[in-house]
Symmetry: D2
Subunit: 449 residues, 4 copies
């Protein structure tokens, strides 16, 4: 197969049933979009999960319907009455270019598209849905959001970690929220799903709609996530700086740590588009430091040849090499707290070169906070616009417990349960990684013997 970001069809394909999106009840109200001549999404249509004919034939041979997604898009009939529905939006997790674009798009679509009046912004992530934080939500008005997409960050604030579900649902009730849009990554979406279950348990008719946010580009069923392109673009400046630093010193090493907790897409793409990177280390491809065939041996050889080297490492790479003890810790979101692989590599390279009696200089750059706080570039910005619109379309039609996906170049409605179970990663035997190896000319394996 051939795609530029190396995402693969997962081995364990979800069934057609598991891809059916939950619906709060009958959607019978006419959409106000009819008046502006909107074309609506045909409820009978489906987006195939795999665009490959041979996959299709396998399903047909088994006399099964091939798995497919519900297409995203505006529906002719709505579940919620636009003039009465009350909507909330919350942004969670780390910053990512484009969050303000999503907020703006959701609010503009609700107000200008559907005529929704009451739109609440909960502050500081799920913490803003907790009764412990006495910070009231703000009422969002289109006019105030006019230029927020030109600035990074999130005007609503964010936080990490889950909160008490019952308490959060109480907050939604207190503020009379019928629809909650949650913008976030894996943990946030898991929280959204749990929140929905809590509302369902209580017999509430609340729509919970996820908007996928992952600068690492590691969510399943999202071919490309917003903020990723911006991060890769700006990583160029940093890698060029590392290259300048490396070239300017005898045995100069420029070491850049890029985002990528479990998936090395940013590191890989930044490496591909740069041309000066000598080593790219990602979570999906294990490596060792010492011994024949290990990273340090390869580094020695590169320094020998060129007197400098540029190393790009994803933050989640080489975790096995870090002490087991530290891996126990978990950060507030429940993610495994990663050691700083950059500082670790800097230290190990330093020790190694010192032990060899070499003169050397290592410059370590960690641009993470700068990259994730940028305004979205145009590509990401327009993507956010559409994500926000589709989130609103889905909510108004009464969908819930779902996320807006992007697959086969089509926007889709995806049940949360098939998103949170899996992770999109680089296939170490796939095209993308082979391209990286071709670009860096690093050894195919850095696992020493």
């Amino acid at each position: 197969m051939g795609d530029d970001e190396g995402a693969v069809i997962p081995k364990r394909l979800p069934s057609l049933e598991s891809l059916t999106v939950e619906q709060l009840g009958t959607a019978s109200l006419p959409s106000p979009l009819i008046q502006r001549g909107q074309r609506f999404t045909d409820e009978a249509h489906r987006v195939l999960l795999s665009p490959f004919a041979h996959h299709l034939e396998e399903w047909l041979a088994r006399n099964e319907k091939p798995p497919s997604f519900e297409p995203a898009g505006p529906r002719r009939n709505l579940y919620f009455p636009p003039d009465k529905v009350s909507c909330g939006i919350v942004t969670c997790g780390g910053l990512c270019p484009g969050v303000n674009d999503v907020i703006r798009s959701v609010v503009l679509t609700l107000r200008n598209g559907y005529g929704v009046r009451r739109i609440l912004g909960f502050r500081y992530g799920y913490a803003g849905l907790s009764s412990q934080r006495h910070e009231d939500p703000v009422f969002l008005e289109p006019d105030e959001l006019k230029r927020i997409h030109q600035h990074g960050g999130t005007i609503l604030g964010s936080s990490r970690g889950p909160r008490d579900l019952g308490d959060m649902v109480d907050t939604l009730l207190r503020w009379k929220v019928d629809v909650l849009f949650t913008v976030g990554g894996d943990g946030t979406l898991r929280g959204a799903s749990a929140l929905w279950e809590e509302t369902a348990k209580r017999g509430l008719k609340i729509s919970v709609i996820g908007v996928p946010k992952t600068i690492d580009n590691d969510l399943m069923w999202v071919e490309r996530s917003f903020g990723f392109a911006t991060a890769v673009q700006e990583a160029q400046t940093v890698i060029r700086a590392a290259h300048s630093e490396a070239e300017a010193a005898w045995n100069g090493i420029g070491l850049v740590k890029l985002m990528g907790r479990h998936s090395g897409f940013i590191a890989a793409l930044a490496t591909l588009t740069n041309g000066d990177v000598d080593f790219c280390l990602i979570p999906e491809v294990p490596f060792t430091l010492h011994g024949q065939g290990g990273f340090l041996e390869a580094l020695d050889k590169r320094l020998e040849e060129r007197k400098h080297a540029v190393v790009v490492v994803a933050e989640g790479a080489g975790q096995r090499l870090l002490s087991e003890a530290n891996m126990e810790e978990r950060d507030a979101s429940g993610n495994i707290r990663l050691e700083d692989v950059g500082l670790f590599l800097k230290h190990e390279m330093g020790q190694h070169l010192t032990s060899r009696g070499e003169d050397f200089t290592i410059k370590y750059i960690d641009p993470s906070y700068t990259l994730r706080s940028l305004p979205a570039n145009s590509m990401d910005s327009s993507f956010c616009l559409v994500l926000g619109q589709h989130a609103v379309h889905a909510a108004m039609a009464g969908r819930t417990n779902m996320m807006v996906g992007f697959w086969n170049y089509a926007f889709t409605n995806v049940p949360l349960q098939v998103v949170v179970g899996e992770r999109k990663q680089i296939d170490p035997e796939g095209e993308l990684w082979q391209r990286v190896l071709g670009a860096t000319l690093q050894p195919t394996s850095l696992v020493g013997r």
Copy 2:
């Protein structure tokens, strides 16, 4: 359906036969990529033309195979012996961010991947294949191309227009070229197809492989073309300038002309991601100037409300309004020579406001040459890298008379005949255009009565 750039499945679907790629002969040589552990594309696989289940069911109901593309990618068996094959590359038409990336990728893949020795760069487009221009091709070496992707333009030069086919084939023979990579748009690919037919007529075994280049993003079966994202990004700076100019003057009008001869994708996407545009005019959506419901009436109303307006116009918009006489002329490529719609609109708006006795200022900006001469951004750059690799894979396997496509997020091998016949355009009733209308709040129709 839901996609961010509004491309639609064309009404007239090509048949499976017409999607079969031409092959010069049996590919029986083992690929040298085997040694580096490359996974190869399975010859039995196909990429469906439509990812929609309901399209599929229509085909199956008719007992026909759904149309599908050959996936791009490296093949286990080659037609050309890498150590003996001689390759040429030519870049044609207007500049576009990323052309140097493609050249670099083709050369690096040929040399570092396959071990091809003889790689010729023909200068100044098809003119360099003509015997009239006494400019010899240059031999391309990877070392010299190390940083060319950081600069805009094309190191090979370019030109427009067709040349004598026989003469061009003679040149290929004189330089012993077995494979010709042509980087260009609609006209260039038409030329490539004609060139291949001429070689076939003479019984020559020459592979002609197209790499799609269209900053307008208007080639069929190419979901996203390189240079497009860079152009949209940089158009922001210009539109913001136009907005500043407009706001700073009483009845200030900022008028920006963007590229888009037949398709308004750049204008539409730039409008969406900006937020300050009041009117977006594209070739696909006709408009009139005068009378009730026409553009000037809407402009008056906007100026009345806000005292300034920003107008984005694609270069091919409003052609019907320009004098018939001038439409006869054709530029060197055979394209219809367009009048400058920007100057035309500036003049018409000026006359109209003068006749109304209004004080006004119009600032007209045409950034075309600056946008198209930029280096590619990361997204475009990595896309070019892959396009170049797939072009080489196809050529080495003996494919010919084809272009590398990108459809359903998969890279494909597409016969040239199904590319040059059609054009990708914005559907005036589709999602993309509805988004633009929502962003500008311009009237749904600007065709006056």
Copy 3:
């Protein structure tokens, strides 16, 4: 002498008397800045006009005091009572990066520094002081101006051209304005001086303070003007585009017109910092087109050698070559309306090369509106901040009919009459121009025989 922008000490040096700034009356109120520990400018201090010892000795030999400026800066004693004074600000002429920075600085200094309450922004330049335009001024509050410096243009709007003086003074009286800050160039400052004279004639005690704005960097006694650095920086992108276009075509010519009505500083500095420019044409250095030694002959030679050329031309260059008839026209500001030298050169080069039977391509880029609408870069932005502060300091102390200058790296108070009489230009025999000649390797003279 040696400075990087080539400004020279003018031949006709002003006398000490002409450099004495007008004062509305006795300044006897204690400055509120005393409370925050401000150090005040010593009224006895002066900034020498020339920093050269030999100039000094000439004056001393003649037993005369060397001419010097009053230093800008906060005074211990004020003329206006901060709690009662009413201030107005107006921005005139073409856009320039940094105007919003100046507005913000003036308002913040008035309010936060001095505690001034009533600050009016007149809309659309001097037109906003005219009774004919029924657009009331706006009250400016610091909170609303928080981020205006991150955007180009001017939030107040602008216009060109003078208005009726009596009418403007009436408007000032109607709005009870005691201090008027005028941000603008040569024409604006001339207007400010006339306005002050009109108030003086009527016996009014109104302070008129100019803030020099000239993207061309052509005001006398201003070593560096805001917006200039930003414009030169961004001109690089355009010149690189022109270079890419030129290189990509057989006999490709990239032609860039940059701002510079009477002084070629932008063209010269942009040429120096680029390295790819082959010809730089400025108003101060005449040239001819035809004949031996003319521009076209030099162009032919350059094309012969390199097959492409990059030409940078200041908008005011080569005016003598344009038809006399057109030079009669004047634009609204009373400036001589210049023909577009870019279109003229494009046409002349085209005719010349056509007549020689050459194949060629000329790409003409005019980025003026984009450059002047940018937000200021840091250097310009901090310069604007200080200009605004000094304008306020001067006004509060009762100075009038003056402009804030920058000379010998010191900020100064400069009487308007010594500013408007002269123009800062590039000395064709000075260092700056010699550097340009060294960078382009163009002939020392392009005046043909």
Copy 4:
């Protein structure tokens, strides 16, 4: 006084004698620049050290000549014969935007201006002049340097720290170097002076010319140093990121460390041009953390009011607060090794807020390596061009033991002894710092009781 970067006339003024530049011998060869119509610097001219009339009067009252600098610039008579002289160039210390511009300018001026043939580039700073590092110098040719100014870093490499003087002089002799250009800061210039003394002791006629390089802008008699403007510009991106991070979290603190070992110019200017900074901490202005009136109290108050804060700290600020023990260490250049004040502040703020039971988030960004590795912006780039030219002019005329300075907006020749003795710093009672206080609204003093 009024200048935008707050440099002050030092209290201890150098005498006229100490400002006299060393000359290797009689300059009697005619300059080849005569042929291209160059105007030469008049040997009788001098640039006053102070441009203030009252300073002048003090000197005159004492019947002394006011101290003044020799102006930089081309001389009519040369000491070295251009066709025989052999020149070397070495770049030392940390990276700084513009070093490649200086190299390019020196080489182009030597070759294209004077016709010098033999130009050597010593690799990796003074280490390249040491016999211990077996890395031969490279011969520099203008053609190879064409685009180096578009890239950051230094093509020659760099290193820190002094080397054995005798050994270095031996290297100069071995390579027959008559002129050595050293590009570097305080330590480098001190080394250059020592090197010259060693050559003088041996009776050698070697010219040693310094080009001032300090991204911190802290060299005396250099009003503005190259790389500084670029660093301040790019610091904006980082501070905006810190602001986005801070705003997005409950009690969010964005902490940015900027370059400035002994002088806080970068921190101060970046703060001024940003508008979002709440605290600016620099080496020149002491502060304490704890107690009434200390930094942490002020921080609490700011968080109370705004729920977030942005802190910019110069790397050399607050050194007194760091443990005495660590201050003993010295880095390779002999500079005091500074503790990382950023990590220190992050830790102290964290402890303080934790002890108060506050929920908070601190994001610490250190962009130093990225800022210093950028290509120079236009302003810096053209400044480098002129510095390089003047370095060459001085060397060819036989000047030695000097540096090219920039004072009163004029380029000067400055004896090294008056440079290395002093440091340019921000005056805590001067205008610049008052502006910073006005911009941040931080308390005038952060020294707690």
